[in-house]
């Protein structure tokens, strides 16, 4: 059952695609349709009126001339006939009458002296008594009452008939005081032909007007749509961040006004963005300068605190026990301040884009061991890594990443922290998993944010609040990534993915000869 249904869906889909391709709502199509409709209405009504007027004029003129002629012929010939003419006399008169300039056939009807109806006609083949419509005969033979307005007892009547697809004019009248009744038949074929050709001409003219209107509509649509298309392209470029996009303004029409408005908007936007980035740049530089400036006094303080520290550690007990906690506090806080400034410097280097990679060939297992050894974490970290996995990366930056990830795991998850290393295609994967409660779902997206604290009420932690953010930046500069997740069995898992060769990212910074 479903198969034929499926088959029928194919063409339907194609048709739908074609329809949507044509876009009946498109401005171009709408313009063409409207233009065509207007042109059609105008052409058809103009042609109709012209045809109708022409037809009336032509027919009336011909008719009037023919009927006038017929009347004259009747007066000059038929009224000259005796009251009861013979067949021959009628025939002769009819032929005489038909010889007039208008070329009509004549039929004369009278009563001969014996009281018989006699008929005389000019063309026996074409015009007989039967050709005259009964209604006309009746009207012609009807005696009109005489009055002041009507001076004749019989009137001239006419009618248009169609015999064998040829239009004819039939007219008839009766000579007053018992004269013969005369009918005439005039072919209107010539006039019909003329009117036909007029109709054809008008039809062709209408068709031409339609085509012309369609072309005009196309042209109009193009003149309107081209700027609209340009505007669309420009708006897209603007959206892509090319804020220096401007439109060429030509003319003074509404479209030009629209282009001008677009340009003004783009300019304002560019200016606003420039202002904002300048402000951002200024604040970044402030942080950078600030941390630079902090370094100088910090260097002096650090050097001196070390002297104090050595004094504390010396067994001579030269420091007053009352002062000792104060000295220890100064020493530890100075170290922390050092770390903070160091991290700030690192962050500003990333923000300013001046951070560079110094790559070297590194054995990952050795590097991790050295990292945890240097920080006395050997007892708290389980390392699952084979020796011999090497990568080309910046060892100092890898150390920063590892120290931050492992340090974070130890702080929040507690030992043991599991670090495992494996390779996947051209990538190196290092997983750091802890045994803690994991990361709450609402915190997960923010773990790499600077100075992000899981809750406002949480006490200030040991770290600078920049550690994970710096770790992430260091992964990014290698073309790598760090993701945070919760393991199914509990505990947070940070996965560091780095390309095994980061040197393509620093094209040409290290001279290497191939010898």
């Amino acid at each position: 059952m479903s198969e034929p249904h499926d088959k029928s869906r194919g063409p339907a889909a194609v048709r739908k695609a074609i329809l949507s391709g044509l876009r009946f709502t498109s401005l171009r199509l709408r313009l063409v349709v409207v233009f065509a409709l207007v042109a059609l209405t105008a052409a058809v009504s103009a042609s109709g009126i012209a045809y109708w007027l022409n037809r009336e004029a032509v027919l009336t003129r011909t008719q009037d001339a023919v009927l006038r002629d017929f009347q004259q012929e009747m007066q000059s010939h038929a009224s000259a006939l005796p009251l009861n003419p013979t067949q021959d006399e009628l025939q002769r008169t009819a032929v005489q009458m038909a010889n007039s300039s208008q070329r009509f056939s004549v039929l004369l009807i009278a009563e001969d002296p014996d009281g018989n109806v006699v008929v005389g006609n000019s063309d026996l083949d074409t015009f007989t008594r039967e050709d005259v419509p009964a209604s006309l005969r009746k009207a012609v033979n009807k005696e009109q009452p005489l009055s002041s307005n009507n001076k004749a007892a019989y009137h001239l009547y006419w009618q248009r008939i169609v015999v064998n697809d040829t239009p004819y004019l039939v007219g008839g009248t009766r000579v007053i005081d018992g004269g013969p009744t005369g009918y005439m038949l005039k072919s209107l074929e010539q006039e019909a032909k003329d009117l036909n050709s007029l109709a054809w001409s008008l039809g062709i003219a209408t068709a031409l007007a339609l085509v012309g209107s369609a072309l005009l509509a196309q042209a109009a649509a193009t003149t309107v749509l081209k700027p609209v298309h340009r505007l669309g392209t420009a708006a897209r470029r603007l959206g892509e961040g090319k804020l220096d996009t401007r439109l060429r303004v030509s003319g003074t029409d509404e479209l030009a006004e629209m282009s001008r408005t677009f340009n003004r908007a783009a300019e304002a936007l560019e200016q606003r963005v420039a202002e904002m980035s300048a402000r951002e740049e200024a604040s970044r530089r402030f942080v950078a300068d600030m941390s630079h400036e902090l370094r100088t006094p910090l260097t002096a303080i650090t050097a001196v605190t070390e002297v104090l520290e050595e004094e504390l550690d010396a067994e001579t007990g030269s420091v007053d026990p009352m002062i000792e906690p104060a000295v220890r506090l100064v020493v530890s806080e100075t170290r922390r301040l050092n770390d903070l400034v160091e991290n700030l410097m690192e962050v500003t280097r990333f923000d300013a884009g001046t951070a560079r990679l110094v790559v070297d060939d590194v054995d990952i297992a050795d590097q991790i061991t050295a990292c945890i050894d240097a920080r006395a974490w050997l007892d708290a970290v389980e390392l699952d890594a084979e020796r011999g996995i090497t990568a080309r990366l910046d060892p100092r930056r890898l150390d920063v990443i590892l120290a931050n990830l492992i340090g974070n795991a130890l702080k929040h998850g507690g030992s043991p922290v599991r670090v495992s290393v494996r390779t996947e295609d051209d990538d190196l994967l290092i997983e750091v998993q802890d045994n803690g409660p994991g990361i709450p779902e609402d915190v997960l997206p923010h773990v790499f944010d600077r100075f992000y604290k899981a809750s406002a009420s949480r006490p200030r932690s040991e770290g600078s609040g920049l550690g994970l953010s710096i770790a992430l930046e260091n992964a990014h500069i290698h073309g790598g990534e760090i993701t945070a997740a919760n393991a199914p069995k509990g505990g947070a898992v940070f996965t560091l993915r780095l390309p095994r060769d980061a040197s393509p990212l620093i094209a040409g910074t290290r001279e290497e000869d191939s010898r």
Partner: protein, 228 residues
């Protein structure tokens, strides 16, 4: 009587100069100080210290220039003190001939360790010699001659050459060389090795741009070979 190394500290900031002088003196060094590059160069001629600790940012001629001027005549060790760990500074410093660098805020202990490591590079340890083509390394006299001519090498350059010559034909990684020559931990800056190799090549190779003695082993490091 033990050897007390004499240092020259060139640093313009009073607080840092005083603090570092205090710290280094407590570590057992004799410290002379100068506040500008010009004063430092004058003191260098008068006192002939064993090592110079040089700040990069100095009024007047800067640390890099001081370093270059010293290198024109002297091969004594120089440790740069840079407030900016911006990479370009480090590279420029190493190119101008510094043996090592320390980033501010510097810990006195770290600086002391670096100073001692640099000074140890001049110590002799064996009594033999090795020949690589026209290059003769006399480990007893701690001299290097090329075509019979004495080469002026800094202690760091000499130590690098000695470490390489101890394992002829064997490639040493930058990290290994950093541990052997600079005594840095696992995070040593490999550019120190690269810069030193460049300077060494400029002195020992016939054509420094196409080295025949100190070869680069791609993906590993460097090795010293007799020319084929």
């Amino acid at each position: 009587m033990t050897f007390v190394p004499s240092l020259l500290l060139i640093e313009d900031d009073d607080a840092i100069r005083t603090a570092l002088e205090l710290s280094l003196t407590r570590q057992g060094h004799r410290v002379a100080t100068a506040a500008t590059g010009e004063d430092g160069l004058k003191l260098l001629r008068e006192q002939r210290p064993d090592l110079i600790v040089l700040d990069v940012m100095l009024p007047g001629i800067d640390g890099f220039e001081v370093c270059r001027r010293i290198r024109r005549t002297d091969q004594l060790p120089i440790i740069l003190l840079t407030a900016r760990s911006d990479d370009i500074d480090v590279v420029v410093g190493l190119e101008s001939g510094a043996d090592d660098y320390v980033v501010k805020p510097v810990q006195g202990r770290v600086l002391d360790a670096r100073i001692r490591a640099v000074l140890r590079r001049g110590e002799r340890e064996a009594n033999d010699s090795a020949t690589f083509g026209s290059l003769v390394i006399d480990r007893a006299a701690m001299t290097v001659t090329k075509n019979g001519e004495d080469l002026q090498l800094t202690p760091t350059e000499l130590r690098l050459l000695l470490e390489l010559s101890r394992r002829p034909g064997q490639a040493l990684s930058r990290q290994q060389l950093l541990r052997l020559v600079w005594e840095h931990d696992y995070l040593g800056d490999s550019r120190l090795v690269d810069a030193c190799v460049q300077r060494l090549r400029a002195k020992v190779e016939d054509v420094p741009s196409s080295p025949t003695l100190i070869r680069t082993v791609r993906g590993v490091g460097y090795r010293l070979d007799s020319p084929q």
